[in-house]
Symmetry: C2
Subunit: 389 residues, 2 copies
């Protein structure tokens, strides 16, 4: 390990690829004949495999949740603030598994992968997915890794939906479910923002009905716009005010000048959009936002969340953030109410933050403290199980 | 008048065009050599011209604020709910003047008009405008109409900014200023949404750097996207939930079906975007959103709103709506605080509504009642002045 990494970092990490040759039946009725999952792990699996924690990523996430890929790497994994030695998800105690989900664009089987039936990238022909398809593929990964029961399944946003679905699909294969800044289903407003983002991608002439890869082009403009829309809705109005205010990047309000005025926030957003559109796959973006839109925890339980959670056996930690208007505290309270109605064990914290939806990724002493305290008990339990008492 | 129009309608109305040949010096330093304003009026101007009310429109508004353009016309003007005989802006008592502002695309001089210097449409060469340019062009219109002092200048959203600027530029030429769902300046979040909308237009390949008219094409997709973004932010999350919920328009969540699922809200938004993009001008949209972004009531008053309003002489009515998150009640409270600080006469009402920013256009008994009561006093005052006491 490079000594220049912070002491509370998991340090240098290396992704591994797991290959699954058994066909996966998907919720849409189609079959994925084979698939690969790119995985990173941090910490050590204990003797009885009682200390494994699964990290479920959100819309633009992936397997690289913590640590660094090279000694020169400046930027750690996306959840490095919460995963590492001594951190809330303590790698001195837990064996942490992070993966890129199927449908993703960071190495796991998705629209960019080669479809063995055609020898070409799947592209727009990649089957539509639901969160439960992720759960099933993750369950197979657990089996392959020798993990019979997760100490916890943890996720924020879309990852929180993934985690809740775990609790209903495989109730006896997780002891804790941590649901952060999430919801049992999206609101019409959320669906509307996703639809606009999709339309931005689909109306880019370089999209070619999703067939851009075979034409060796990319719908960069559309994807940048989609990201900009997402980004604004993930931040709070307060945060944007604090961070950018109405500061000018160029131009002036004095009359007589021809240079167009540009606010800081405009150039920031453009930068965010453009850098995202260079790395992310447009078909994956469409697929992921559809998983978000379709997710409805209680649909198959007579639309009754209490009945749905009646099938869960694990304990729950639910966390929301005051300024998150895309997945507001109200959505988390609905989860908590349903869990209480179903007589489930639940801890809930609504964390004061001005960071909007992105708060779940960012340092925050109160959030850290609640998360750390809860996970320490999960680790104690895992230790006890390992000792056989 | 067609008897089939409602009895509280102003009935059949006809726009008139006023031509101004005197050059208008703009805030940007450029000169508009001549311009035309399309105007509608409702009611009768009294003997002393003391009962004239100016209606300032918002981003996508125009001169057709009330009544019908033909006996077959199904849809009245955009503020018909509030302008008419017996309505809050009572045409039995007021002479109401509504216009399309310069820069607009409904008949007044704007990017679609012919630039007499070139013989071609202005297009992207139309000069950038500020709200004060509208005020100056409206002041000339008032002079031409023989209106020395408005009984009231009234506007919602961007129109409210226009109305406030009136109070500072020509303090002695209005007695009342009605500011509805507006703000002294946009927040960074608001600017961000506008920037995304502009980028959607500008990245449409049919935009041709604003030169689409001479190429006989239109950036329809970009404009539709821009409208969709605006539309979602003008509605509240609650309203969208009530109106659309998660209802499906087509498709089904049952597995095995290939038909893509589509939520009601998706098709509604697409319809909104597509119908707007067929009628509105993209360069006008860019120009109008820039006026919104640049507007900063107190910029030339040492950024001190109290100092700014110290220059006003009129009385104020300020109205906001609880669920309006684009121009939130907090923004209106800032206006009210500054007015109180400047010792101005102000009435403020925060109206309970779940309609979001669009509430200012829609029927609402409490809003109507506050507005009606205030305007009745404005009309009493106008009558008094007409009687010469």
């Amino acid at each position: 390990m490079n000594s220049s990494f912070p002491s509370d970092s998991v340090g240098l990490v290396k992704p591994q690829t797991y290959v699954f040759d058994e066909p996966l039946e998907l919720a849409c009725g189609r079959i994925l004949p084979r698939y690969e999952l790119v995985v990173e792990t941090y910490g050590e699996l204990n003797r009885t495999a009682s200390n494994a924690v699964l990290i479920c990523h959100a819309l633009s996430g992936h397997h690289h949740a913590a640590g660094y890929h090279s000694p020169e790497d400046k930027k750690p994994g996306w959840w490095d603030a919460y995963i590492g030695p001594g951190k809330p998800i303590d790698t001195n105690r837990f064996y942490v598994v992070a993966l890129n989900n199927i449908g993703g664009c960071h190495g796991s089987t998705g629209p960019r992968s080669i479809n063995s039936a055609t020898g070409k990238p799947w592209g727009r022909d990649f089957p539509p997915l639901r969160a439960r398809d992720w759960v099933h593929s993750q369950a197979r990964l657990a089996a392959k890794m020798g993990i019979g029961q997760w100490a916890a399944v943890v996720g924020g946003s879309l990852g929180g939906m993934n985690a809740m679905r775990w609790a209903l699909e495989y109730p006896d294969r997780l002891r804790h479910c941590v649901v952060i800044a999430s919801a049992m289903k999206l609101s019409a407003q959320n669906i509307a923002f996703n639809e606009i983002a999709r339309r931005a991608i689909q109306s880019d002439p370089e999209f070619h009905q999703g067939d851009y890869l075979s034409r060796e082009t990319l719908p960069r403009n559309g994807l940048a716009l989609a990201r900009m829309i997402g980004h604004v809705t993930y931040l709070s109005d307060e945060l944007m005010g604090t961070r950018f205010g109405r500061e000018l990047r160029r131009g002036t309000f004095e009359r007589g000048l021809e240079a167009p005025i540009e606010f800081q926030v405009e150039s920031y957003l453009r930068h965010q959009g453009d850098s995202f559109s260079g790395s992310f796959d447009a078909n994956t973006y469409l697929l992921m936002t559809k998983i978000l839109d379709y997710f409805d925890l209680a649909r198959e339980y007579d639309h009754n969340p209490v009945k749905a959670f009646g099938h869960a056996l694990c304990k729950f930690l639910v966390i929301s953030f005051t300024s998150d208007w895309r997945f507001s505290p109200k959505r988390s309270e609905e989860i908590v109410d349903a869990l209480i109605g179903a007589n489930r064990d639940v801890v809930y914290a609504n964390i004061e933050s001005e960071m909007g939806h992105d708060a779940f990724l960012l340092p925050n002493p109160r959030y850290e403290s609640v998360f750390r305290t809860y996970m320490a008990k999960v680790a104690d339990e895992a230790d006890k199980l390992a000792r056989g008492n």
